[in-house]
Symmetry: D2
Subunit: 382 residues, 4 copies
């Protein structure tokens, strides 16, 4: 029924991100007229039963229990890396070397060195690649980018972002293992810095340009937790909270904060940009709205506008429903797949590429260094 | 220290409104350069001790216990009527006949007949007069009027207003007597219709013009309450809730509702006007903001603006503090006194005059008739 | 890969609702473990090319251009009626008589007589049936129902709802034909009453019980529009706006309003319920939130809570993502399909059934009668 | 008419703060039953005409043009220092040495050394003293303090505050002289740090305890401005923006930011405190509301409550109007005077005293040092 080219997907990992990606692959062609049709060819996980159940639920045609085997399969076009952070590099590099398209969950890597190796691999292999910083493709966020690019804000003075959660406040919560690897430094690399701030940084670099230097602090409020893999109470190695100040290359000041100890906030990613002519702000808890203040408005009627981003004039929205009817979180992944497939057809890269994501990694590294050394750190140019 | 003319005030009644008016008289010259200085000459109340205490608190120079005596005093320029509704007409008419300026609390009267007599009296006597529909002078509401007068809304399609409270839900609350006369039909005339909807109607007529006809319903949820004056449980005669639909002369549709049984709302007076080109809305719980939507805004950036009405460009605000710093409820009375004194110096009337308020009375009467007769009623032109 | 039973769907109509339903059928099994798997067997539309394109997009296996042919097909289990309102009855009755499961878009029918015939048909045939009043299954709305059923509001005093849009303000907009049949009285039966208020009424009856009587008004602001089918300027037969007051059987007062002339509102469906102990409110522009006020809260800390309905404890949400991440409009249809398939497996009806929807039709009829006759009308019991 | 003791006020400076204080003195006895009645005895300013005009407006009985003369007057009980920051110390110390009560505008001093001398002076003289950090007495902020003291938040993890303005973005704005001394480093000492962040710090120390160390950055976006006193274009010495991270003694992390370059914000002072059991937040643009989240609420109904702080149960509010009717900015000064006069009658200090304000000065100094040195600085204990 379709003349589209197929893109055979091999998914590695079937956790929360495995679900969001699978959904995106399945839905994209219903809503976006792109030249490729993703085919859910195989899902790979070490636990055969769990992988099988996942495959059954989502309609994957086959399963693998060793990602190396998946990478070798000739019927696989693209490897999607949804595993814990400490495995991204190995899998992605192997996939690139095997000539596969690579789609990698964020953060790109455990650190800058590892990230650089990944960039080298995909660029050397010349394979299409992207990193799932999905929030760029919330329509309201994409609209923010458009407004900035149109020059509506003028010179930017301030950029601030936060990502606040509250799910780890209980000291009874263990660390490590399925669903909780984000609390295990060995698997995650860092805590909120790589998990949450990385999103804020990716958006910031996209919207506001390079960050020159940072001063950061981190805290681990609960010092020991039972480890699910060893069964023992062990020192917690991740940062529960991280805040940093920075200066952007464009002269603006930045302020970033992330925590999993902000009671009352589930996933409150917010950002605000203050420019000479206008300001804008957004938050993930009402992701379908963009707040906008325009100094050019009639003086007696200036005010923050709450723009309900559901009109066909606004990014991605003509493909969904009708004005006033909001979309949700999962659609950001559909948008990323849509853009990726469209670009693939034209041989164009899809931002953020591995190289784009390396810049975020550089900031994360500087942040963690600064927090440890208690001094300003320059962000390594990438 | 001042060369302003004095306006000697005789206040009748010292309840909640007595306080708001006294405060307004005392403050107006600190903030507004008007040609008169109100002097708190006398307060009148039947309870000598209570009146004396009120006078001591606010600095009234003398007290009276019979309003007739107050009206006769030659050192009194203006009579301010703050008593229960059933006494407005007698006092105001006597004051007018004695040549006094009359400032009367709302609603003007118990009904249209009584109100017409009051209008006749002040007009025959040629005395300055005004009715305390204070919400017209919330800066955000005055701004709304300005925007409509500037034609920014274009043709109006819809007007809706509500005034929601929750303070009478308990059946233990008695009716009648000091502080509770608003629950006693003999003293108040009606319940929420005269107390709350009258405000909504006054604003509506001011902003959107004449109402032609209405269809209303009322309800008394608690049928009997102990009466504080008789000590007995008696039938409740007032309306606890009232809603009505109407058509305005300009072709727009109106919807109004008021109740004291809306759990969670203390004094939520709201209105919204939808025009061809723009819409606006306001509520008393955040009275310093006006919400405004302008269809002429760039399509991708249309949204409701939350205008923080604290700038010098906005009505009354240059007389107060600096942008961003809000004023409150009591300031509306200061504004009314300021306008009244300014107009008095120029021999101009201050809206709403008794005649303006008569139009609101006509709508209230039609509403109560419609609710009783269960049919559409034409509003008597006044 | 699946052992689920198949439910072969035959979709009639491929407009906006055809898309929402198709999406729901395709997604339900990815997120809900229900005993049936819908199969997109056929889509039916008079325009073969358009139907073919729709089928290609969504993956329907075949197309029909005559719904009678579809109804006759033995490989079809369920007929989904997504056509203009004036064709619901004929198609649904034929489908029922053919023994098909019937899923019908709202409003059920053009009027009560037609609706009764539809109820009779499905009940006589004993076929499963449901009407797509999808807003019942917004998680926040379902949560409201749960709270009311738990008795948290106590005695209800007030129910108010509105559905405000602004898309037909321009007089250049034509009526009739594809995409615009909602403006054509012959196809739609009524304007906002059947299109928008029907949603408000369905929710109200579900949450607050029977409506006894109503007093309504309607208005058609633009009297003539070009008709797309005839090419001529013709009288507009629909109501552009409709408001009504009502009394519920439980003693509470109701106020409802709908319009397509409320500048600034795209699809602002809102409702609020005020009870003795608590109140709640919701709106479609932020559909993932429920506002809740509980009088039992500590007095100094009472306030409206903005509940972000994204937790696993809340209706339907454990099947989606993680706390803080919102879903959107389309998910309400997925929920309705999920419930329908679950109930189908157990032989239980899925509300709202045709009979449930008939009650809404009765209110709509009374509303239109009242507006025409300018008097209170009793709602016919069904 | 009053048996209250008089407190004869000598006001030094008649700018914006001169107005807020004068209003507070004039209004306090109308609303609060305190043992003293402030008398506006004299206002002092170098410009005799301007001082005379101010005196006439507010009713000061006399004027002085030399503050030393005012301090010597035997009929003055209290000196209120409302002059630019660089004169606070000299005036306040002289007043204390003359045995006067001293009320000083914030920030206390130009730096810690100067501030310590002021503390020494008032303590040696044993005179009553207070500093006008008025935001402590916004009812919603006082309520926040009460909630924290009641233990409702439990262990605190995060404190964040910001004070955002946009009034100096234009490079045409000059520095120095009347109304603009806040832009002149010689008169103001610092820019936003002393002007705005000092408020944030005062509240933070009050609510969350001592700050141990800080890492800060400052920026001056417009490097040169015309100086109103010299008439020349001169280097701007103040900070236009300042942000800092810190650690509190109680283990929580702090994040503070202030700027006059945040387009769209007039006076947006906000703070948020995240505790183990509950969180709260407040902002000055809607100062009558406190947002509160309580984890102990029923799981399916948890949400941020918007508490409309206008009830008699809430701090200060029983002295004003009725529930639902908000007060504004100026009332915070009335509250401070009310508390001061009440405490004066009982011989008790009124926080923040000079000593309390010294702690804020210590943080400001550390912040400015850190910004200059680009390293973490320990806050000097005071």
């Amino acid at each position: 029924m379709s003349t589209k080219k197929h893109l055979n997907i091999g998914l590695v990992g079937y956790g929360f991100m495995g679900r969001t990606h699978s959904n995106a692959y399945k839905r994209v062609n219903d809503f976006f007229d792109v030249p490729y049709r993703p085919v859910l060819k195989a899902v790979c996980g070490r636990d055969r039963d769990a992988a099988g159940k996942f495959a059954g639920n989502w309609g994957y045609e086959s399963i693998e229990t060793d990602w190396r085997r998946l990478v070798e399969r000739e019927d696989i076009d693209a490897i999607d890396v949804c595993t814990p952070n400490n495995t991204h590099a190995e899998i992605a590099i192997a996939a690139a070397e095997a000539g596969k398209t690579v789609l990698c969950e964020k953060p790109l890597a455990m650190d800058l060195v590892q990230g650089q190796a990944m960039v080298d691999a995909v660029e050397k292999a010349g394979v299409a690649n992207t990193v799932w910083y999905n929030y760029r493709r919330v329509p309201a966020v994409t609209l923010a980018k458009r407004l900035i690019d149109e020059g509506r804000l003028g010179k930017v003075f301030h950029y601030r972002a936060q990502f606040l959660q509250d799910w780890t406040i209980s000291s009874d919560l263990p660390q490590g293992g399925a669903g909780l690897w984000r609390l295990d430094a060995a698997a995650a690399g860092s805590g909120v810095t790589g998990d949450l701030l990385a999103h804020c940084i990716d958006t910031a670099l996209w919207l506001n340009g390079r960050i020159d230097d940072v001063s950061a602090m981190t805290e681990t409020f609960i010092k020991e937790r039972k480890h699910n893999l060893t069964g023992k109470v062990e020192k917690v190695g991740i940062d529960d909270a991280c805040a940093f100040m920075c200066r952007f290359e464009n002269g603006s000041l930045g302020l970033f904060e992330s925590t999993r100890y902000a009671r009352g906030h589930k996933a409150l990613y917010t950002f605000e940009v203050n420019g000479e002519k206008a300001s804008l702000r957004w938050d993930l808890h009402d992701l379908h709205r963009l707040e906008y203040f325009d100094h050019a408005d009639d003086a007696q009627l200036r005010g923050w506008r709450s723009v309900h981003v559901t009109d066909g004039d606004q990014p991605y929205m003509k493909n969904w429903w009708v004005p006033g009817l909001q979309i949700g979180y999962e659609h950001t992944f559909v948008h990323q797949v849509a853009d990726f497939l469209e670009n693939l057809g034209e041989g164009e890269p899809t931002a953020p590429t591995f190289r784009d994501a390396l810049a975020t990694q550089a900031v994360c590294d500087a942040v963690l260094d600064s927090a440890e050394n208690r001094k300003w750190e320059t962000v390594v140019p990438v």
